[in-house]
C-alpha cells in the first residue's frame, strides 16, 4: 500500500514537472524562434519587453487572451473546439515516453526520469503523431472556410505520406537496439558504445525530413503557405485558440520529435561518442546532472537546426513533397533496412 502511494506521488510529480517543462519551454521557444529568424534576416527581433525581449511570449499571450472571440457563421462549434483539444493532447502526451536521463535514487526511491517506460514507447510516439492529423482535418472542416479546408487537406496528405516514411526510418535503430522502449534504446546505445547516427546516417536524414513535414516546417509548410492560403487551417481561429495551434505544431510537437530523434540516433543522455570505443564527457564535473544536461543540449541543437532550416529554405509544392516521400524517401528507408539487417549482427555481437 505504501509503495503504491509513493509511486502515485512520484508519478504526479513527474506529470507536473513534464507539463511545466513542455508548456513553459514551448511558450519560450516562440521567443527563440523569433530571435533566430530575426538574426538570420539581420534584425534584432523582439527587444522591448524585458531583457532582449525575453518577456515577449508573456506579452503575446496576454494580447491573445484579451482578443475578441469570433466564430465562423456556419461552422461546426463542437468540432471547432474539439480540434484544439485534439491538437494539444497528443502532442503533449508524446512526452510521456521521452526519457530525460538515467535512473537515479532520491530519498531512497529509485526514479526513472520518464513518465511511463512502456515497452512500445516508439510505437506510441508515432501513433500520437498521426493523431495530430485529426486535429488539423477537424479544424479545417469545422471552420467552414475554403482556405482552412485546403490547408488541412494538404497537411493530411503530407502527414499520411510521411508517417509511412518516418516509421520505416526508425526501423533501423529499433532493429539495432532490439526493443521499442525509448529508455531501453538509449541504454542499448550506451552498452554498444555507439550512437546509431554513425551506422544510420541515411535514416537520420530521412527522419529529419519527416520531422519537418510533420511539424509543418519549411520546406514542407504548404498547409499554411501564407502567400496563397493566408495561414491555412487556423484562419478562422482567433485569440488564444489561434495561438495554441502553432504552439502545438511548431514547438511542442517539434520539441517532442527532436527529443525522439536524440533518443533514437544521438544516444539520448550519453555524452560524446567515439564509435565502438566509448564516451567522452567534457561535462563530467557536473556529476549526476551531466546526463540531463547532455540530453537538453542535444535536443536544443536539433531544434535549432530545424529552425535554421526553416529560415533558409524555400517551399516545395505539394506534389513535389508527396513525390519525394513515396519515390525517394521510402525506397531509401528500404535500402537502409537491408543495410541494417547486414550490419545488425556485427553490432549485437
Amino acid at each position: 500500500m505504501e509503495g503504491l502511494v509513493a509511486n502515485l506521488i512520484v508519478i504526479a510529480i513527474k506529470i507536473v514537472v513534464i507539463l511545466l517543462i513542455t508548456l513553459g519551454i514551448g511558450a519560450f521557444l516562440t521567443w527563440v524562434e523569433r530571435k533566430v529568424a530575426a538574426h538570420i534576416q539581420r534584425r534584432p527581433g523582439p527587444m522591448v519587453v524585458g531583457w532582449h525581449g525575453l518577456l515577449q511570449p508573456l506579452a503575446d499571450g496576454l494580447k491573445l487572451l484579451t482578443k475578441e472571440d469570433l466564430f465562423p457563421r456556419y461552422g461546426n462549434r463542437f468540432l471547432y473546439y474539439l480540434a484544439i483539444v485534439m491538437a494539444l493532447v497528443p502532442a503533449t502526451l508524446t512526452f510521456a515516453v521521452v526519457p530525460f536521463g538515467p535512473e537515479f535514487t532520491l530519498f531512497g526511491i529509485t526514479v526513472k526520469p520518464i513518465l511511463t517506460d512502456v515497452n512500445i514507447g516508439i510505437l506510441l510516439v508515432f501513433a500520437l503523431g498521426s493523431m495530430a492529423v485529426y486535429a488539423i482535418a477537424l479544424a479545417g472542416w469545422a471552420s467552414n472556410s475554403k482556405y482552412a479546408l485546403i490547408g488541412s487537406m494538404r497537411k493530411a496528405g503530407i502527414v499520411v505520406s510521411y508517417e509511412v516514411v518516418i516509421t520505416f526510418a526508425v526501423m533501423g535503430p529499433i532493429i539495432l537496439a532490439g526493443t521499442l522502449s525509448t529508455y531501453s534504446i538509449v541504454q542499448a546505445q550506451i552498452e554498444q558504445k555507439l550512437w546509431y547516427i554513425w551506422v544510420q546516417p541515411m535514416a537520420f536524414v530521412v527522419y529529419m525530413f519527416a520531422v519537418l513535414a510533420e511539424m509543418g516546417r519549411v520546406p514542407f509548410d504548404v498547409q499554411e503557405a501564407e502567400a496563397e492560403l493566408t495561414t491555412g487551417f487556423t484562419v478562422e481561429y482567433g485569440g488564444m485558440k489561434f495561438g495554441i495551434f502553432p504552439l502545438v505544431e511548431w514547438y511542442i510537437e517539434g520539441l517532442a520529435l527532436s527529443a525522439i530523434a536524440v533518443v533514437l540516433f544521438l544516444g539520448g543522455w550519453s555524452p560524446l561518442n567515439i564509435p565502438f570505443v566509448g564516451f567522452i564527457d567534457p561535462l563530467f564535473f557536473l556529476g549526476p546532472l551531466s546526463p540531463f544536461l547532455w540530453f537538453a543540449l542535444k535536443v536544443a541543437l536539433v531544434f535549432l537546426f530545424i529552425l535554421w532550416l526553416h529560415w533558409t529554405l524555400p517551399r516545395y509544392r505539394i506534389d513535389q513533397i508527396t513525390e519525394t516521400a513515396w519515390k525517394v524517401m521510402l525506397p531509401l528507408t528500404f535500402i537502409n533496412l537491408v543495410f541494417t539487417a547486414i550490419v545488425a549482427p556485427l553490432i549485437w555481437r
Binding site: 538574426h39 538570420i40 535554421w308 532550416l309
Partner: protein, 207 residues
C-alpha cells in the same frame, strides 16, 4: 538573336549530399552572427537627407536671404521687413505653382505707413502631395520643406500649419541644418552605420 540561358542543373552527387542545401545554410548562418543593420525606431532615429520632403516651414529673416532677389521683391511689393519673422513677400507664387491651390490661404495686410506685411499663411497639409513645386517657386527662399516626417496627428486640425508653426519649423531648421552641404547623402554617423559594409568612402574618412 535570342540567347538561350538554362539553369545549371544540380548534379546527382550534389543532390545526394545536399550541397545546395548546405550552400544556402552557410549563407544564413554567416548572416545570423553578423551585426544587425536595423534602427530601433522609436528609440533611435535616422536623420533624413537635407533634401527630404517633410513638413513645410518658413525661413525667417536673419541676414542670409538670397540677394539681390530678396531686396528686389521687398522693394517691388513695399514689404515691411521684420528680423526674426517670415521672409514671405506675399507674392502668391507658391499658390500658383501648387497642383491643389486651395491648400494655401495667403493674405497680406497694408500697414498705416503704407508698407505691406504678411497677415495669414495657412497650409492644409491634408491636401498636400509633398511634390515640392511650391518650394521651387518661392523666389526668396522662404518656403522650404523640413525633415519632419512623423506627421501622425489626432485630429485633422493638427494637419493645418499656420504662420506661427511654419516660422517655428523654419527657425528650428535654420538652427540645426541650414549650414549643411546641400547634397542628398550627407555624412552623418547614423546613415554611415547603415551602409558601413558597402565600402563607401565618406568625406570624414578622407579628412
Amino acid at each position: 538573336m535570342i540567347k538561350k540561358v538554362f539553369e545549371k542543373p544540380v548534379s546527382w552527387i550534389e543532390r545526394a549530399l545536399f550541397l545546395d542545401f548546405i550552400k544556402g545554410l552557410s549563407i544564413t548562418i554567416r548572416h545570423a552572427f553578423r551585426k544587425t543593420i536595423t534602427t530601433h525606431y522609436p528609440y533611435e532615429k535616422l536623420t533624413p537627407p537635407k533634401r527630404f520632403r517633410g513638413f513645410h516651414g518658413h525661413k525667417v529673416v536673419d541676414g542670409n536671404e538670397p540677394q539681390p532677389a530678396f531686396d528686389e521683391w521687398v522693394a517691388r511689393f513695399n514689404i515691411h521687413v521684420q528680423p526674426g519673422k517670415s521672409r514671405c513677400v506675399v507674392c502668391q507664387l507658391c499658390k500658383r505653382a501648387c497642383p491643389v491651390p486651395e491648400l494655401f490661404q495667403i493674405e497680406g495686410e497694408k500697414l498705416p505707413n503704407g508698407k505691406r506685411v504678411l497677415k495669414t499663411f495657412n497650409m492644409n497639409l491634408m491636401l498636400c502631395t509633398f511634390c515640392g513645386l511650391c518650394v521651387d517657386a518661392c523666389p526668396v527662399d522662404c518656403l522650404f520643406m523640413s525633415d519632419i516626417h512623423e506627421t501622425a496627428c489626432y485630429t485633422r486640425k493638427d494637419a493645418i500649419l499656420d504662420i506661427e508653426i511654419l516660422e517655428k519649423i523654419g527657425k528650428d531648421w535654420q538652427l540645426r541644418r541650414e549650414n549643411e552641404p546641400d547634397r542628398i547623402w550627407i555624412d552623418d554617423a547614423q546613415r554611415k552605420r547603415l551602409w558601413y559594409e558597402n565600402n563607401l568612402s565618406f568625406l570624414e574618412d578622407k579628412r
